[in-house]
């Protein structure tokens, strides 16, 4: 009799998985590209769980609770998902010869490296912002800053980046990297910022 009951209990136990199982959920925190690990607060059934350690995970479902996954487990579960994360937004600086829209020799090399990076992105959004130092009048610098940005934009277009994906703007001498008195020749302020995402 006891044996029959035990067998019945076993049958019931093992028949459980064929019934619709509840939704299962998994959350796992990973270190970011710069190596820093942030935090996620998981709220479930009135309870808050903070994940703030690398590979800390929270499961909800048949086996609920905290867990620590390995890098390999994350890769095998989320590989194709991770591969689809868009390229990280990036920023670059190029510098110019005084009073002109001609890049410095060093920045010409940097421009070539940057183009490689831009070409890796299938649908880039590029914002080019030109700046000047404080030599010359404000009006001249507004014009020169835009001229610098447009020159870089034209260069990208000539290298095959779609024109409609690039916007150019000039900020004149308003946003120096290095604060100076008016009329000071400061190479670090003669620049364009390139933001791509």
């Amino acid at each position: 009799m006891v044996a029959v009951l035990a067998i019945m209990a076993l049958v019931i136990l093992f028949s459980q998985p064929s019934a619709p199982s509840p939704a299962t959920e998994l959350v796992v925190l990973v270190p970011s590209a710069d190596g820093h690990t942030g935090a996620v607060v998981v709220e479930h059934g009135g309870k808050r769980t903070v994940l703030d350690q690398p590979y800390a995970a929270n499961r909800i479902g048949r086996e609920s609770g905290s867990a620590r996954l390995t890098e390999g487990q994350v890769r095998s579960t989320f590989g194709p998902t991770a591969a689809a994360i868009p390229a990280r937004p990036a920023a670059f600086l190029l510098y110019f010869v005084m009073g002109s829209d001609e890049l410095t020799e060093e920045s010409k090399g940097e421009l070539a490296r940057m183009l490689e990076e831009l070409r890796r992105r299938p649908a880039p959004d590029i914002l080019v912002i030109g700046h000047t130092d404080r030599v010359g009048s404000e009006e001249d610098n507004d014009r020169l800053s835009l001229q610098r940005a447009e020159r870089v934009r034209a260069n990208f277009v000539a290298q095959g980046i779609a024109a409609e994906r690039i916007r150019a703007a000039g900020r004149g001498e308003r946003e120096p990297v290095v604060q100076t008195a008016d009329g000071v020749d400061e190479p670090r302020n003669r620049r364009v910022e390139i933001n791509v995402r």
Binding site: E25, V28, V40, T81, A84
Partner: protein
């Protein structure tokens, strides 16, 4: 000439439609966007709007960059709804609610979370995740699968 300028301005306005909150940057396999009851084939460079639902087939994956530089991607067999998105590019204040209905999601938080932690929330069928930064994955397996 004047109407040409107007046309150009309209074309520009159309490409920068105010409801656009993100853009598809990566795409593989079968992916579509459910918008206003329609099922649109997704493409790289396509804009994403509030209330869109991104759906991938068994061979699909898609990655989206949002206005505040938040990055989201989903893997095969997934459905993700962009419930709410707002972002002020001057103050970096905003709110982002997205729901993973099924499948897998990767999140890299952006500027609004840097400005105010938990401004971004990811919903699953049974939980809510407040995002303090920066990278995490979520998987939802539907009942009976």
């Amino acid at each position: 000439m004047r109407w040409l300028v107007t046309l150009a301005a309209l074309a520009f306005a159309a490409t920068c439609y105010a409801n656009d909150v993100g853009q598809i940057k990566n795409l593989r396999g079968t992916v579509h966007v459910e918008r206003d009851g329609q099922k649109l084939a997704a493409a790289t460079g396509m804009s994403v709007r509030q209330s869109d639902v991104l759906v991938t087939g068994a061979d699909g994956s898609v990655g989206v960059t949002f206005l505040d530089n938040s990055l989201l991607s989903i893997g095969p067999g997934s459905a993700l709804a962009i419930d709410r998105y707002s972002f002020d590019s001057t103050t970096h204040d905003g709110q982002f609610d997205a729901s993973l209905k099924r499948g897998t999601l990767a999140v890299v938080s952006g500027r609004m979370v840097k400005r105010s932690p938990e401004a971004m929330r990811v919903h699953t069928p049974s939980s809510i995740m407040g995002v303090r930064g920066t990278e995490f994955f979520v998987k939802v397996t539907e009942p009976g699968r």
